[in-house]
Amino acid sequence: ELKVEQNPLFLSMQEGKNYTIYCNYSTTSDRLYWYRQDPGKSLESLFVLLSNGAVKQEGRLMASLDTKARLSTLHITAAVHDLSATYFCAGGVEPPGGATNKLIFGTGTLLAVQP
């Protein structure tokens, strides 16, 4: 069964600094997702990564996928306070026959960007 682990669980960083959130998963996953959640809000889709070597960038966030290492990273460049939120990665599970499309989530990383 797919298991997804994120680290760190909590990240406090200063504005202008760079950092990376790591997402490891245990078995083959069809796709890897990154979501953002603000306090009291729902999940906002950031990236969907479908193949080995996939890299996607949006503003100061860049996500990559290495299926051989079963690792995805979310890199934050020159952080700003507005990026403070909880970030989740999730692996997609779709067994033969396509009977389900459930997502298995990591524990989340609470990012706090200090001025």
Binding site: V48, G92, T100, N101, K102, L103, F105
Partner: protein, 114 residues
Amino acid sequence: GAGVSQSPSNKVTEKGKDVELRCDPISGHTALYWYRQSLGQGLEFLIYFQGNSAPDKSGLPSDRFSAERTGGSVSTLTIQRTQQEDSAVYLCASSLTHTNTEAFFGQGTRLTVV
């Protein structure tokens, strides 16, 4: 609608009562999912619908939990004889098809059992 809509936003109920949570998916989305988010357990999958049928109910924690979907649209998650450990945020998501890559989440229903 423009997005996934859930109601109510907040629900406080007494232990032992039944509750119904509603989800309105994005129009035209055939796949619908229920998740639960709690402090101790993180984000957990509950059930998945494709159309009106539920091929995967593996995440429902007990037989007190049930869900249905009618007309390939609205879904209702019912919790019978609520317990304090049922307190959580219940999130609904939908995607265009079950093989479509992106799932969009509603704002959730915060359930508090007192």
